[in-house]
Assembly symmetry: C2
Homo-oligomer: 212 residues x 2
DNA sequence: TAGATTGTTAATCGATTAACAATC
DNA sequence: TAGATTGTTAATCGATTAACAATC
């Protein structure tokens, strides 16, 4: 997807979802075209950076005109892999697992939650928005019978790596991890670690800093 | 807190919570001392970077010995502002708001949730782990009577900026925002934007990339 | 003391910014 | 055409890495 097979830096990748958000907003408010300068002012980036970022993937603009909002949005959608659907399971039906299962927003972007798994007998058998909570023991069986693209890990910290191992052994290629540990995965598997507490501690760092 | 009043880069700040996590693990498993080299192998960073990072804040190590795990952990705790407590409110008692309220882990680090706020009459008046859900109309009144340090925004996207404005007008200095929008705050107020969907889209980006 | 490992300076690398020719 | 704005190259800046003297 990168312009030639050339390397795209982490920093650029992390900015793509942000572009997507702003372009969606622009499209929703009926804006047809946007220049890198206008976008830079809205987003708090430099126009130069924006043009460089887009040109990692291709020339989406037009000299003298700028970028067509909905075309550019579609391109970024493709870049982010949002032009297809993903089947998702959630391992750990606690607070975060349930919250994610209840949230309907990800479906709009093609992420469909197919099952939850837990070890708690009180949870096994009930369902959230028609998504069944299964016994974790049946994980391997389920994965053998259903094509799943992404697994969310929302277990306690000390179970996360073990779960990740079971997932990758059974063919899962993408892990979205909410446990407070960096899960190790074999080559070819992608793990995105969320680390909510890291985010909170960055906030407390800045609050302390601002009080100095 | 930085070594002299000198600037500490975003990249360094974002790594501090990660150090904190690894040091906590080391301490828990009874490890007394660690060298930058050992830590680098565990964490997947270079030893050089680790030493540079720590030296942004002070000389915590000892030549020929390394770092004392629990001393270093305590120093990073201070750096992150975790040597005090924070009173927290959550605005938006939906999926994420409730999940955060139910989660007890943040209390161990000194973050105490004092109240939730919502506009849904079905939620107002009930409580989660003894934390009451109040009518959003009473937000200003509550803030006038209670010293609150941090507000979580877990409202729908289109209400987030308005809520942020109300919060900052009433003295809130730290905002932990889960809505899919970058909230704008006045100078002197810290906003940490979580953007879960950005994280998910980064994952789908990498999955697509790995399939090429 | 000898060995180990930090703290820190210098070198390198990569990302960001600036500039401008190309072109719509 | 003239004006605007991209795509892209070159310059700058900052972060990372390497190296090593200081020192426990």
């Amino acid at each position: 997807m990168a312009r030639n097979g050339s390397y795209v830096s982490e920093a650029v990748i992390r900015r793509m979802p942000k572009y997507y958000r702003y372009l969606e907003d622009l499209e929703k408010t009926g804006v047809e075209r946007v220049s890198s300068k206008e976008l830079s002012q809205r987003m708090g980036l430099t126009a130069s950076k924006i043009r460089q970022d887009f040109n990692c993937f291709g020339g989406f603009g037009q000299q003298g005109y700028g970028y067509n909002v909905s075309d550019l949005k579609k391109e970024i959608m493709k870049i982010l892999g949002l032009d297809r659907t993903y089947n998702v399971i959630i391992v750990g039906a606690g607070n975060i697992g349930q919250a994610l299962a209840n949230y309907t927003g990800f479906e709009k972007e093609g992420f469909f939650i197919k099952a939850l798994f837990d070890i708690n007998p009180k949870l096994i058998g009930i369902s959230i928005r028609d998504i069944m909570i299964y016994d974790l023991d049946s994980l391997e069986d389920f994965l053998a019978k259903n094509p799943i693209d992404i697994a969310v890990i929302s277990t306690p910290k000390d179970k996360a790596q073990e779960v990740a191992d079971r997932l990758t052994r059974n063919g899962i290629k993408g892990i979205w991890n909410f446990a407070a540990i960096d899960v190790a995965v074999p080559r070819g598997v992608i793990a995105e670690n969320v680390h909510l507490s890291d985010s909170l501690y960055t906030l407390s760092y800045r609050i302390r800093e601002s009080l100095e």
